[in-house]
């Protein structure tokens, strides 16, 4: 009883402290939001939840990048970028309330890391003509094009780029190569599947097996066994790092790999995959839309400096690169809108017309392909590179490969 009483008092005190601290901080922060020398943007970040392995480096990178822009470059055209960010916990209903919050907070645009969280926000944003872009996206988000954009080529483009690379550089057999797909059971997997269904016949690839897995899978021995029965030449995985590492390890365990060629979409192909899969990942191919760490690119030095100073744990993680580039693109969109419309006229709709749609070969410090708006195609960057794991490192083996728009038919 005594323990319960102490616990009760302690919990009441803690809760009271949380309430008091929150309100004091909230009051203290109130003034800064009203300054007229800022332009507001909203970030819906999956910092926690099942996709935190990607959300954390990406969230840290974009906030670091905005810090760099504000502190070292003096903001955008003299206006500081004010960020309102919220952790959506990779939860769709939370993402839906967050998008409303960002619109209410007079932000001019928003971004999400993942296609899943963008799908939860997209319809509400589209109805209000509130523009935003997803770093990682699925074809369904931008087809048909509305007010949601994709920073980079989508999961379908990955599949197409890898399929082309395989046919031109690896395939030495006769007839159609046989491909097995191992897909995450969400939009990450669905994007690759949609592209395979649209293009496989034309490219001359036979899809012999389609397996699905969960983000929290701990064994894919069964699905690998079924795939082996189809004797594929290629195993293509569109997923996130953790399940991809399980699939690769199981493929090695069952003797499927080495033997087949394994290719991965960009959602999984980061240093985290190499860490998780270890030596089993050696020789695995992957498509990624950015350069690698330590590559020669104008933005690399500053990004590396910030990463090593504030988040050294993310050094080597390519997700950090994608979202540093995201921060640069946000700044460029705002710069264009400010120049074309002026600070007094900025609304989300003006930012879309005078910012998003004016993007023309913007160089993201060489971190990924140039960023342009093309009418009818809401993908901002349209090129990818093929990488391979060599001696435990992710090494680029091609230059930029254009990802042409795939003619999808979504409802």
């Amino acid at each position: 009883m005594k323990f319960k009483k102490v616990l009760k008092i302690a919990s009441i005190v803690c809760l009271a402290l949380v309430v008091v601290v929150t309100s004091i901080i909230g009051t203290a922060c109130g003034g800064s939001t009203d300054t007229d020398k800022t332009v507001k943007v909203g970030f819906s970040i999956c910092y926690t939840g099942v996709a935190a392995e990607k959300g954390r480096p990406m969230g840290d990178a974009k906030l670091d990048c905005i810090k760099y822009i504000n502190e070292e470059l003096g903001g955008v055209n003299g206006y500081e970028i004010e960020v309102i960010w919220r952790d959506n916990q990779y939860d769709a209903s939370k993402a839906a309330t967050i998008i409303n919050e960002l619109m209410d907070a007079d932000t001019l645009m928003f971004t999400t890391n993942s296609s899943a969280m963008m799908t939860a926000s997209a319809e509400i944003a589209n109805r209000q003509a509130f523009p935003g872009f997803a770093v990682f996206s699925t074809p369904a988000l931008t087809n048909p094009p509305q007010h949601i954009y994709a920073q980079m080529p989508d999961y379908g483009d990955d599949w197409a780029a890898f399929a082309n690379y395989f046919l031109e550089n690896i395939w030495a057999g006769t007839g159609k190569p046989k491909m097995a797909l191992h897909l995450l059971n969400n939009s990450t997997g669905a994007g690759a599947k949609a592209a395979a269904e649209a293009l496989a016949d034309d490219l001359g690839i036979e899809i012999v097996s389609i397996e699905e897995h969960d983000a929290t899978t701990i064994s894919e021995i069964d699905s690998i066994t079924r795939i082996m029965a189809q004797e594929p030449d290629i195993l293509y995985i569109s997923s996130t790092p953790q399940p991809t590492s399980i699939i690769i390890q199981n493929a090695v365990e069952k003797g499927l790999y080495p033997g087949v060629t394994i290719g991965c979409g960009h959602a999984s192909f980061t240093s985290v995959l190499v860490e998780l899969a270890g030596a089993d990942a050696e020789g695995v191919y992957g498509v990624f839309p950015t350069v690698n760490w330590d590559d020669s690119a104008p933005a690399m030095a500053k990004m590396t400096e910030y990463c090593q100073e504030y988040h050294p744990e993310h050094y080597g993680n390519m997700d950090y690169i994608t979202s540093w580039a995201e921060g640069l693109i946000v700044a460029e969109i705002l710069r264009l809108a400010l120049e074309n419309a002026g600070i007094d006229n900025l609304t989300p709709q003006i930012v879309e017309e005078q910012g998003f749609k004016k993007l023309d070969n913007f160089d993201v410090g060489g971190l990924h392909g140039p960023v342009s708006y093309t009418p009818g195609d809401n993908r901002l960057a349209k090129s990818v590179r093929v990488f391979q794991v060599q001696d435990g490192e992710i090494v680029p083996i091609t230059g930029w490969v254009e990802a042409p728009k795939i003619p999808y038919q979504f409802d």
Partner: protein
């Protein structure tokens, strides 16, 4: 029902009434006035939170009827909400049927599927039943993901805004009236259900199903009825969720959502009408508070980006654990104690 000192009922009708004193009626009126004017002083963000709370209350009330009143443990509630959401989405998008048809059909189909998955409850209970309802969640989500021609599969399906008699519910304010209106009806229904023969049969089954059967209660019928009602309300909540978000894919209906619903009704207080309401409001506002706290702390104390994100799950977990230790009967019990003390005020001793 307890009454304030000095007040007595002189008729059976009055004794049975939910609202019996002028204070009750006044408070109800004040509540309606507050709810009715809420869109005037809340912005879209807080209205969207209120809408999410309303939808969650409807679903949690259904689960409370199933678990709290009838004692049938279900950990597949998100699956039944998904059935409702997709039924409404498919009927209003693909077949272009009116929203009300979608709404009612969502409830009915969800209820019917709930009955199908509730059949094992006649033979198994407790953890065994919980496992069978988890199976329901997995099967339902699998079917939705793979019935691509109808549901859109993993790519999802766009859901048009709700429309009744020419009024389109697009803004958060208009959706608030729709959602809260239905939530009030559901709460009223649940309150009355508990006082009917059916409700008392549910409680008898929960407390001792063997004794209930000996007393003549048909276990098969009442258990399945509980599944139907619980899942019917889940379907209604799913339909509203679909039209509120405007886009559905199965990311909205993970197993963790089902577990969250069980947590909500435990924190709120099982087997009471007010319990799910308090539980939902507590959990949803806690989530909002936590999501606000992390970025605020970082900007105030100039912490490195992402430094405070871990406090969210931590605070959430600690609060739930403390709650279960200190008030296992839930917020509803606290509310009862508060009312009892107020009832005797100023002579409580």
């Amino acid at each position: 029902m307890d009454l304030p000192s000095g007040i007595r009922n002189y008729t059976y009708d009055r004794d049975m009434a939910i609202f019996r004193t002028k204070t009750h009626w006044s408070m109800l009126l004040i509540l309606f006035v507050i709810l009715g004017t809420l869109p005037l002083y809340l912005d879209n963000h807080w209205l969207s939170v209120a809408n999410l709370i309303g939808i969650t209350i409807i679903a949690a009330t259904g689960l409370n009827i199933l678990i709290g009143y009838c004692g049938q443990l279900s950990i597949g509630h998100a699956g039944f909400i998904a059935v409702g959401a997709y039924t409404s989405a498919v009927l209003t998008n693909r077949l272009e049927l009116p929203f009300l048809v979608g709404l009612i059909s969502a409830g009915l189909l969800s209820g019917f599927i709930g009955v199908v998955f509730g059949i094992p409850s006649v033979r198994v209970k407790g953890f065994y039943l919980a496992i069978s309802t988890i199976a329901a969640q997995i099967i339902i989500i699998w079917i939705i993901n793979h019935w691509e021609s109808v549901t859109g599969g993993f790519n999802g399906i766009v859901v048009p805004p709700a429309k009744i008699a020419g009024i389109t519910f697009v803004s958060q304010g208009s959706q608030f009236y729709l959602i809260i209106g239905i939530a009030i009806l559901v709460i009223f229904f649940a309150k009355n259900l508990a006082r009917t023969r059916v409700g008392r049969a549910f409680i008898a089954i929960r407390d001792n199903d063997l004794a209930a059967e000996v007393m003549g209660i048909n276990l098969f019928r009442y258990k399945l009825l509980a599944f139907f009602i619980g899942c019917f309300l889940a379907g209604i909540a799913g339909s509203l969720l679909a039209h509120w978000i405007g886009f559905m894919n199965t990311e909205n209906f993970r197993l963790t959502e089902s577990i969250l619903y069980v947590g909500i009704i435990i924190i709120g207080g099982l087997g009471s009408t007010i319990g799910p309401i308090l539980g939902v409001v507590f959990i949803r506002l806690l989530e909002k508070g936590i999501s606000f706290l992390a970025p605020t702390l970082e900007s105030t104390f100039d912490l490195p980006a992402g430094f405070t994100t871990g406090i969210g799950p931590m605070v959430f977990g600690i609060v739930i654990i403390l709650f279960l230790i200190l008030e296992p009967r839930g917020l509803a019990h606290r509310w009862q104690l508060f009312k009892a003390s107020y009832r005797l005020w100023p002579f409580s001793y």
